[in-house]
Amino acid sequence: MTKEEIIAKLKVIVKPYIQDEKAFEDLTEETDFVKDLKINSANLVDVILDVEDQFDIILDNDSMEELLSVKAAIAVIERKLAAKE
């Protein structure tokens, strides 16, 4: 799965939780889920559950703590996908 494909999937996942439409439209690898998209930190667990379902991976507690930005999410997802193969 390419980085672009992962980002496209991530955008669909985070859309229900974002509170800053502009930041969402301009989403890049550097975008931070809480600081930029203004996702309520309590909702990060919902994002993580959706990531698990969409990519068919399991995120342990340590991986969950990393998952605060698009860049970090891509890294974690790529690592977990690679481990599956």
Partner: protein
């Protein structure tokens, strides 16, 4: 100490027979039933397979809760409470906006018996399946007792006290008294008060097991809930929410708000499960004391009460309630006030009953009529021995009423009585 007058400037209701004050008023005049056969209860082997569930149309929830709030949402009582509460707030001419400034003068007392029973069921299945990490972020908000007041508090931006009370079937009337006291003592200008109850087998099962719900009307749901009747055979479960926006008279007048009625006073107490009281039966002396204290606190005499909106659940306790009223008021026969029970139309909405019935009380005062106490055409002898049969309206009676007393009693031997007065500017 300063003691301020408290008026009602907003109403909202989600009842099994109508949603919204306008249609609910029509339903009250018609004596419309909200009791229907419930296949789910039948399939689960309930003795009582009829109940009152508000008929929420498709798309309605989305007008009250946002997309995020509705994600994985499964708590019918919170939905009913939010609809009724937001309606009451808007009815009072107040605005709802996500970015509204924090309102330090407005608070909430919104009660319930138990929150999110269906959500709790999901949680238990998930946890027992070792899937605690899959619960998501909203389980706590949907299942905590104060969930409904927490949802409303955020939607309305209330900055005064925001809490949930719980006193079984007296919850709704108690919430009115808690809000009334907070305003009358000068601690808040506006209090959104009310209560809600989930629908469904996990709320009602315990009552079915106690054999206090009727099993005789599964083929005739509309006739099933029979308060005051000789053929009453147990209550019919209901669900929904009622809400009232209480406001200090000075705040209401300063805003130019429409005043629906006044809360003159009231009382709450407990029989302590002594002197004949128990977990499930009332201590008659405590009930009478509660009625007496409500009258004294309202600055009226018992002769001033024009009508009573009773608790009257259609169990064997209805006759005892009439006896308590006659003794507490010192009035009987043709001298007894009018009395009716809303439960004939909508069943016993448990924690929501008191607030829905308070809304019906205010509507009667404002619109000038008594709603029919449906399914009481064959009055019980224990009732007619004490009061004249014409005290119980069989059809809607147009009538100017000044003062109505609303009583609710609950498990745990707890009582609440609220005295409402017609508003005349």
């Amino acid at each position: 100490m300063e003691h301020r007058r408290v008026v009602i400037t907003g109403l909202g209701v989600v009842a099994p027979n109508a949603i919204g004050v306008e249609d609910f008023t029509l339903a009250l005049r018609e004596g419309r039933s909200g009791i229907r056969f419930q296949k789910e209860l039948k399939d689960l082997g309930f003795s009582c397979c009829i109940a009152g569930i508000p008929q929420i149309p498709d798309g309605m929830a989305e007008r009250y809760l946002n997309r995020l709030q509705l994600r994985n949402f499964n708590s019918s009582g919170i939905l009913y409470g939010c609809i009724a509460g937001i309606d009451a707030w808007k009815d009072a001419g107040l605005t709802v906006a996500p970015d509204s400034p924090l309102d330090l003068d407005s608070g909430i007392v919104f009660g319930t018996g138990q929150s999110g029973s269906e959500k709790c069921r999901e949680v238990i299945y998930n946890i027992d399946d070792h899937q605690v990490r899959k619960l998501g972020s909203t389980v706590v908000a949907q299942t905590m007792a104060s969930g409904v007041s927490a949802y409303l508090g955020g939607i309305l931006g209330a900055g005064n006290q925001v809490t949930t009370n719980s006193s079984a079937c007296s919850t709704g009337a108690e919430a009115v008294m808690m809000g009334y006291e907070r305003i009358s003592s000068g601690k808040a200008q506006r209090m959104l008060v009310g209560s809600c109850s989930d629908h469904g087998p996990y709320i009602w099962g315990g009552f079915d097991a106690m054999r206090v719900m009727t099993y005789k009307h599964n083929e005739s749901p509309v006739q099933g809930s029979r308060p005051l009747s000789a053929t009453a055979s147990g209550f019919v479960p209901g669900s929904g929410a009622g809400a009232l926006l209480l406001e200090s008279l000075e705040s209401a007048q300063a805003r130019g708000a429409t005043i629906h009625a006044e809360v003159l006073g009231g009382a709450v107490n407990s029989g302590g499960q002594r002197d004949g009281g128990s977990m499930t039966a009332p201590n008659a002396n405590a009930v009478k004391r509660c009625i007496g204290q409500a009258i004294i606190s309202s600055g009226i005499g018992s002769a001033d009460i024009d009508a009573i909106n009773g608790h009257m659940t259609a169990t064997i306790k209805d006759g005892m309630e009439i006896k308590n009223w006659t003794e507490a008021l010192g009035r009987s026969g043709v001298d007894f006030p009018y009395i009716n029970s809303l439960k004939g139309m909508i069943g016993h909405c448990l924690a929501a009953s008191g607030s829905i019935e308070c809304v019906s009380t205010v509507i009667q005062l404002k619109e000038g009529f008594l709603f029919p106490s449906v399914n009481s055409e064959d009055l019980h002898a224990e009732v007619t021995e004490l009061i004249s049969a014409d005290r119980i309206p069989q059809r809607a009676l147009p009538m100017e009423l000044e003062i109505i007393a609303k009583a609710s009693f609950g498990f745990g031997d707890v009582n609440a009585v609220v005295i409402f007065k017609k508003w005349s500017a």
